[in-house]
Amino acid sequence: MDISFILQQIVNGFSLGSMYALIAIGYTLVYGVLRLINFAHGDIMMVGAFMAFIFLGILTGWKFDNISMPIFSTAVFFSIIVTSIVGVLTYLVAYKPLLEKGAPKISLLITAIGISFFLESVFNVIANQYLGGNYQSFYFPKFFSKIIHIGNITIPILTIIVPIMTLALLGIVLFILYKTKVGIAIRAIAFDMHTVKLMGADANKIIAFVFILGSALAAIGGVSYAMAYPSIDPYMGVLVGLKAFAAAVVGGIGSVTGAVIGGFILGFVEVAIPGFFPELGGWKDAFAFILLIFVLLFKPTGIMGIDFERQRF
């Protein structure tokens, strides 16, 4: 086993892991404030990828030729906005009325599954009816697929950009959480929502902001995912979303840094095990859940070790 092969695996693991991390942050934020596994989050990521695709199509007249950087950034920007709106709508239309009625948690979880299925089937219909098929190739500027050679390692630029972007976004999220007023409010809600309401803060607005933040990150994650496997389909979010949740639990649910660490670990595991034991390649999608079960068995609080019944973020 030569060193360049290992380095190559590490780079790939970083890249895959950062996509899981971007989605896991959204899970962990929503779990923090509502104690709810937002099953629809993976599909929010799918919405992000599809919206980027649709805006790219509109901007290039559905030809997808010579996409320049400005066009691409505009499309991604609009995709982030639309995805955030979809994300916050899921809260306002579905979760909020249930929370106000004091519905048991099982109702919230069933609703989450319902939203997830709803988004999948709606985009399934849209893709089949208007885009001409379930599977679509995802186009992006040629710049991202340029390949850099360092010694024996070949790295597409995308593989470097995504982890750097993830770490930068993690910095922004941590800044929002710890240095701004909204962040203080979010952490306070995670700690005790009723007291926050008694203090006169509008809990609804803050939770809505959490959904916007999580959905925006999911949209970025979705676009990077679509670029890495240059294709999209309405069911792409299911498995990725589940794995990202597993990553969030591995890292310690409720902790943003933990979510990113968990995402990177999962990325490494998924790249390294098939890399070193090719015969296990078909089992790749099962690793996340096996990892999850082991974490639940031996360290239910996850790596960051936060007792999620008491403290958060």
């Binding site: 249930l98 219909v125 089949n128 078909g282 089992w283 999608d285 999850l292």
Partner: protein, 347 residues
């Protein structure tokens, strides 16, 4: 509001006797009345009743949100298929690789025994899942069981020496006649009813309504949740075995999350925790599936509405969302239909 008690022993036995007599008579005469197509749909409904009431046991009665049915149904279907197929047929059928010696040689062509083993294996798997999951509070059960469904599928596709890979198994002996499906369904309903209204059932409801209080009253919540999960898995395994036999061929793609989603809609529609509600909702849902079939058909028109492939699932997920928002208690809430009848009579 008047307090509703469960049926007294006398009422219970007369109800069971009545339902059994009517249902067996119905099973006996229906081949003479209905067409083959109707019988197939009815048989399908009976299988779904087994799955729905057992799914209701963990989700509705015990209140632990779980998304497992597709995994356990797949286990049951494959175990029954492997047990019922003779070694000669299996060595011909496994084309990708030779089947493992154990898989090849095991041959138990007795339907009831095969179904029993399928159920027991499924509940054994449930036990191994329950151990890591129920140790922690919270809603990990949902995500672990959802992941478990994926793992089962990945396992079936990637180990051709056990499951014949993505090609699946076919020519499974069709022991599941219409009459037998109905009979097993009836037995399952009676068994699950007895569990729900037994000491264990009361403990399960206590766990659902307030886990802390149940614990304080001396209920071993871990044990109760595990028993509920294993029982649920047992009946899902049995249901999977019957499904395999009644369809005749199985492949990993039949047991996707879609199956779980359909069952979820059924138990929410019927009212979480109500057995008769689940049975009623199975009829309504599968009937509705047949009625809404045109929505998936591109050539169908009704005014400006026209069918688009996949539209049916949009409608069903919307129904689930609306049910959760506006009619969370479903058709019957967590009560049984005879509770309502009793209330009416007393008034």
């Amino acid at each position: 509001m008047m307090k509703i008690k469960t049926l007294s022993a006398k009422e219970y036995f007369s109800l069971i006797a009545l339902i059994t007599a009517i249902f067996i008579a119905f099973l006996y005469f229906s081949p003479k009345i209905f067409s083959d197509y109707t019988l197939t749909v009815l048989g399908n409904i009976y299988i779904f009743i087994i799955l729905a009431i057992s799914y209701n046991l963990i989700n509705g009665v015990t209140g632990q949100f779980s998304l497992e049915p597709n995994g356990f149904v797949a286990i049951g279907a494959y175990v029954t298929a492997i047990l019922m197929l003779s070694p000669e047929i299996k060595s011909q059928m496994y084309m990708l690789t030779e089947p493992l010696p154990l898989i090849k040689d095991v041959y138990i062509p007795i339907p009831f025994l095969a179904l029993l083993i399928s159920g027991l294996l499924a509940s054994l798997v449930a036990l191994t899942l329950a151990f890591p999951v129920f140790r922690v509070r919270g809603d990990y059960l949902a995500i672990v069981t959802l992941g478990f469904g994926f793992i089962i599928r990945i396992f079936l596709i990637n180990t051709p020496s056990v499951s014949n890979g993505s090609m699946g198994l076919d020519s499974i002996p069709g022991f599941a006649s219409y009459f037998l499906i109905g009979l097993i369904s009836l037995i399952s309903v009676i068994l699950v009813y007895n569990i729900v209204y037994s000491r264990f059932g009361r403990a399960m409801k206590a766990v659902r309504d307030d886990e802390d209080a149940a614990m304080a009253m001396g209920v071993n919540t871990f044990k109760i949740k595990t028993i509920a999960f294993m029982t649920s898995a047992f009946f899902e395994g049995v249901g999977g075995g019957i499904l395999a036999s009644s369809i005749g061929s199985i492949s990993p793609d039949q047991f996707t999350f879609m199956l779980t989603f359909q069952l979820l809609i059924i138990i929410v529609l019927g009212g979480l925790g109500s057995m008769s509600g689940a049975i009623l909702a199975t009829f309504l849902f599968l009937g509705g599936m047949e009625l809404l079939r045109p929505l998936d058909d591109a050539s169908w028109h009704f005014g400006f509405i026209h069918g688009i492939p996949g539209l049916r699932m949009v409608v069903f997920s919307l129904i689930l969302l609306l049910l959760m928002l506006f009619a969370r208690r479903g058709l019957l809430g967590d009560k049984e239909i005879w509770d309502y009848i009793k209330l009416k009579i007393k008034k």
